[in-house]
Symmetry: none
Subunit: 194 residues, 4 copies
């Protein structure tokens, strides 16, 4: 039961880095495992040893560049929500990102074992957003019995819906009305904005 040669840990990083790069350049469509391996100076076999399919690799790569986006809270719940929604809308405004997001969703739908990983991608950001509400409670800006998740769904959901599915524009005015309506629906006292 000897050990065998240990994995070269540098491989993961190099491959994912290249994968990320290629996603940025050509999007999902022109993302070919062959080329990733090539550019990373790695054999295709080695790639497949770690990520069982192209989709798995893509998800892994995307996971690393969602980390960057930071969410700053200013204490003003309404404003923070608008800002977050705007950031998402801005992202989805870029064709490349829009494509990537939809391909990720599709990947999750194609391969059940990927679904969880894909959901996880957005979970982190969602968790960060939910923190805003906790903070707001502390400041008495918000009643205790509201359902932050529901509010977020209404806001973020609407943004994705318009950007990906209906194709309707998502401008600042819309976002303000959206956030206001969602907060009002939950009975949150209309802070400073009205």
């Amino acid at each position: 039961m000897g050990g065998g040669r240990p994995r070269d840990t540098g491989v993961e990083e190099r491959v994912v880095a290249v994968a990320r790069e290629m996603l940025r350049e050509g999007g999902y469509a022109r993302f070919a495992v062959d080329q990733v391996a090539d550019r990373a100076g790695v054999a295709k076999t080695t790639v497949y040893r770690r990520w069982p399919s192209r989709d798995h690799l893509v998800v892994a790569a995307v996971a690393t560049f969602l980390d960057d986006v930071a969410i700053e809270e200013t204490g003003d719940l309404r404003a923070d929500l608008v800002r977050i929604a705007a950031a998402i809308a801005a992202g989805l405004g870029q064709p490349g990102i829009r494509l990537l997001v939809s391909e990720l969703i599709a990947a999750g739908a194609r391969q059940p074992d990927l679904a969880a990983s894909v959901y996880q991608l957005w979970a982190r950001r969602r968790a960060a957003s939910l923190d805003l509400f906790a903070a707001a409670v502390g400041q008495g800006e918000q009643a205790d019995d509201v359902d932050p998740g529901l509010i977020l769904d209404q806001i973020i959901g609407a943004v994705y819906y318009r950007a990906l599915i209906t194709g309707d524009p998502v401008d600042d005015d819309y976002l303000k009305r959206l956030v206001s309506a969602a907060l009002a629906g939950a009975g949150v006292s209309s802070g400073g904005l009205a």
Copy 2:
């Protein structure tokens, strides 16, 4: 300046019919233009003359089977909205449909000239939903200054969001709370449901 041989209008129908069938059978992944043409008794070139790519054909095929879904209005706005949302949720609950929807979105994101057609797919259903609000106004159930589109975005958007992106469950209880919150946020009098 004679016209030339007129297009065989039967081709459109036959091909789309076959395409629809194949989508039902094998989903997006196993949808091959070659086979569609074959089964429809048509040359592949003839298919490509009308639909410049596989994606175009898929979109066209899907367009025809969204027509089936009828929306019945009972007069009770809240209940109707819940029902619609539930229908959507139920659809997205099926892996095949979930995949198809996400592939369609991706197709729209890939090829700009397809985007409009894809948006159009959902537009019809959205329009039908919006009619509910007009009807409700007539019955005095609803104030005149609310923005039905915004309310729909919050509801439908949330459903898509959970089903496709976060993977969270969309049960009846959730839907009721969702619809209530959205209506409340718009200042619609909370009809019978509390």
Copy 3:
């Protein structure tokens, strides 16, 4: 049984002219009936009404530009033969012509009804060459009982053979030796050359 619309006699010329042009530009491979018709401002149907296949059209087109080559006789049989052989060799030296010639041969082999027309293409030039011998007889330069056809076969045949089949070079020195041998074999008095 009225007459119907008479054929537009300009069509033949225009089409053949365009065909010739296209052969010069792109050779046999890129010669597409569709394009010929297009450029000639003629319907494809019209082309096919006159020439039953692509090959037929090509042969017809080539026939018109073999007319150009003139054969001048100086009275010196040996020199004339060398010059003719050299002209052929020069032509076959150009890849385009080499391809064209071989495609013509192939066309003849493919379609029996074309074979005659293709043979005819070279027949004219061969006839002209044979005249040289008749002239030489008049001048007493040549015996009466030789078979000019055989001599020509030996010379021209060798040139085609090397150019098309073996790929061996056909230079001036070779040609001189070739012609000398052929004439000697027929017992023709070795004129000035040796």
Copy 4:
């Protein structure tokens, strides 16, 4: 620097064998790479990895069945030459072979990198023919200073020329006269035949 998976040498053989078979059955026109791959139980991509185009494969296949033809030398140069020429003429008399030969020539003219291979096809047979002369020298049947290549060109060239280009018949009588003329032209003593 590792090798990678070694090529399955069986593939070459199987594919070429099938290709040869298909050439015999349907000639050049009905030779489809798709089918060759299929019948050989090989993926089309594997075929294209070795032979970059249909033409390349055809040439390779033909190369293997030119090997069969054996040339027997009886010691009588003149008779041997006649026999060889007759064999060639007989081959070219079959429409299928005539077509194949001309398509090969055309393939060579189309793709420069194929030219060499095509020339090579005939080179072997030519070499065998040239051996006859060497043998004849040993027997004193032939002078030492003649150019066997030139003689062969005149004979074989004439045969190809008539069969492929002028379409004139190539019968036994013609061949005898041809060989005699060629040998006489080179100053070879006219053995038994006059």
